[in-house]
């Protein structure tokens, strides 16, 4: 049994932050350069926050921590997110 979900499971939490569906965006890993749709990342949710990791190298792509007063979003592991305009 894997201990992660696929990146689609991040859709709910990310939709509270962004007006577009980021799980459909193309994401480049800042660790290994792998470029795939974000939904193919590995999502760890049994944790104090939500962690998305690159399916190729396990680099942390994204962290989301929701506190009672703020949401922390760390995108350091992503070189870019490519979001279609239409």
């Amino acid at each position: 049994m894997s201990d992660y979900l696929d990146g689609n499971a991040a859709a709910g939490a990310l939709s509270e932050l962004f007006a577009v569906d980021l799980t459909a965006a193309i994401a480049q890993c800042n660790g290994c350069g792998q470029t795939t749709v974000f939904a193919e990342s590995r999502l760890y949710v049994d944790a104090p926050g939500m962690i998305a990791r690159c399916a190729g190298c396990d680099t942390v792509l994204l962290r989301v921590v929701t506190t009672p007063t703020n949401t922390y979003l760390d995108l350091r592991g992503l070189t870019y997110l490519r979001i279609p305009n239409s």
Binding site: D3, P48, G49, I51, D58, V60, T67, D74
Partner: protein, 198 residues
């Protein structure tokens, strides 16, 4: 009214031993921010790096040759579960750091897999923390941080880094994996220091 007030029915009787906002569990939930590393003890190494860059290393044989302690402590996860009277075996950081020359005030724990967490050095000393390699009489399972994890039970359990591989000592306080993402720099469960600013 009974002869004995509810306050004296024993430690395990109710929720009075729990820090604020916590609930009691008898399970041992597995929380992890990434894949579980499977580190063979043949390849395991623990390194303390001081603020001057000096390194002190222990392999598995050296760690397990040191005097070990049986530890019984309550543990408190920031996700609100607490587990009481957990039993561990490990080596006190007092023992490991006894011959380490340092004037540092802070430590960053580093784990196999890349996890980090910051702890003031004084919170690792005076019988407050261990490198634990047994849980409940068995070798520590990888999903709970084996072969060895840091055990700092007086702080929220994210400070007790699984798969620990070293400490880096420093004069300045840097923040670790969860501490850079909104969690409290210190994490005292009795003061409910969950998030930055609490």
């Amino acid at each position: 009214m009974g002869i004995v007030s509810p306050g004296f029915t024993g430690r395990r009787g109710g929720g009075t031993d729990l820090p604020p906002g916590q609930y009691l569990t008898h399970e041992f939930p597995v929380l992890s921010a990434g894949p579980t590393p499977h580190i063979l003890t043949d390849h395991w190494e623990f390194t303390v790096t001081t603020e001057t860059g000096e390194k002190y290393k222990w392999d598995w044989a050296a760690l397990t040759a040191l005097p070990a302690e049986e530890i019984t402590k309550d543990i408190h996860c920031v996700t609100r579960w607490s587990k009481l009277q957990t039993t561990w075996k490990g080596v006190s950081l007092d023992t490991l750091l006894a011959d380490v020359e340092t004037g540092a005030d802070f430590a960053m724990a580093h784990s196999y897999g890349g996890y980090t967490t910051n702890v003031p050095l004084e919170d690792l000393l005076d019988g407050q923390s261990w490198i634990a390699y047994e849980y409940d009489g068995e070798p520590l399972h990888p999903e709970h941080g084996g072969p060895a994890r840091l055990l700092v039970p007086h702080l929220y359990f994210w400070k007790s880094a699984k798969w620990v591989r070293g400490l880096v000592l420093s004069d300045t306080e840097d923040l670790g994996f969860w501490e850079t993402a909104g969690y409290h720099e210190y994490g005292d469960p009795w003061k409910e220091q969950r998030y930055a600013g609490d």
